[in-house]
Amino acid sequence: MDLAALTGHIAPVAFGIATIGPAIGVGIVVGKTVESVARQPELQGRLTGLMFLGIAFTEALAFIGIAVAFIPFPA
């Protein structure tokens, strides 16, 4: 198969690559929150809020990845 002969849109590939980083990031955020709640269960409410905040910041990068597909780049 000749790679140069492939046609189609590159945006899905960009999104696929863009999800890798945020996926790892969200995993770390949630994992650390679980760890903290296991250590101090009484802080769960506050930690959950912080966790969603951290997830929101991290996953914004993946959403920029999706948005790329909607930008009309000159071909």
């Binding site: 969603f52 929101a56 959403f63 920029i64």
Partner: protein, 236 residues
């Protein structure tokens, strides 16, 4: 027709969602009593959640009172327009085209810039552009980065996060249910069995979308509050 004020399906869904929101609040607060009835206590629970766990928790009571109406409006507007994505016959989120998230992001942007400038113009600029304890040479790199992250990336990500969550969720649902339709009616033979799986996934993602709708409203309101809080911090 053809003008920017044309009524399309998404505009119609937005009108319905806002009308439903107004109706719910009107019904809930029609006869206010000291001992709340069922409707009133539900409304009080929702508003109390926004007030206590989003606004007062981060801004404190004094500053929180000023921004409470804004944050409450943002929260309930976003949740009403998000939840239409999974309501049968509406089936599209009112926030799944760029207009509404953009307007809300601009409002949040104006709110936190206003909060900072009202408090002290110099302090706001210094706090957001010049982090304390950074050597003077490093500031050449840090200040442009802080400018971009505070004044450009914040509103853009605020709008994109809401929009892309709704667009992505809608696409997942469309994929699952159109696959179900295809396997059940068009594929023929034993392919019909696949439709059970795709329908189950569609159902699961519908439940997931309910959570995402509430979560995005929470995140949008929380981030607006945090940005206002960061604009209001004392100089140190």
């Amino acid at each position: 027709m053809g003008t920017p004020f044309e009524i399309n399906r998404i505009m119609l869904v937005r009108f319905i969602a806002v009308a439903a929101l107004l109706l719910l609040f009107w019904l809930g607060t029609r006869r206010m009593r000291t001992i709340p009835g069922r409707g009133q206590s539900l409304v009080e629970l929702a508003i109390g959640f926004v007030r206590d766990s989003i606004v007062y928790n981060n801004l404190g009571e004094k500053d929180g009172k000023r921004f409470l109406p804004l944050i409450t409006t943002i929260f309930f507007l976003v949740i009403a327009l998000n939840i239409t994505g999974i309501i049968p016959f509406l089936n599209i989120a009112g926030s799944s085209v760029i207009g509404l998230p953009l307007v809300l992001a601009v409002i949040a942007y104006v709110a936190f810039v206003y909060a900072g400038i009202k408090k002290s113009p110099l302090g706001f600029v210094k706090n957001s552009l010049v982090p304390s304890g950074v050597p003077i040479g490093v500031l050449l790199v840090v200040t442009p980065m802080e400018f971009i992250s505070t004044f450009i990336v914040r509103p853009v990500t605020l709008a994109l996060r809401l929009l892309m969550n709704m667009v992505g969720g809608h696409m997942l649902l469309v994929l699952c249910f159109s696959a179900t339709h295809f396997f059940l009616f068009s594929a023929g033979g034993w392919f019909g069995l696949f439709s059970i799986g795709t329908f189950a996934f569609g159902f699961a993602f519908t439940l997931f979308e309910i959570m995402v709708a509430a979560l995005q409203a929470y995140v949008f309101a929380l981030l607006t509050t945090i940005y206002i809080q960061l604009a209001l911090v004392e100089e140190h």
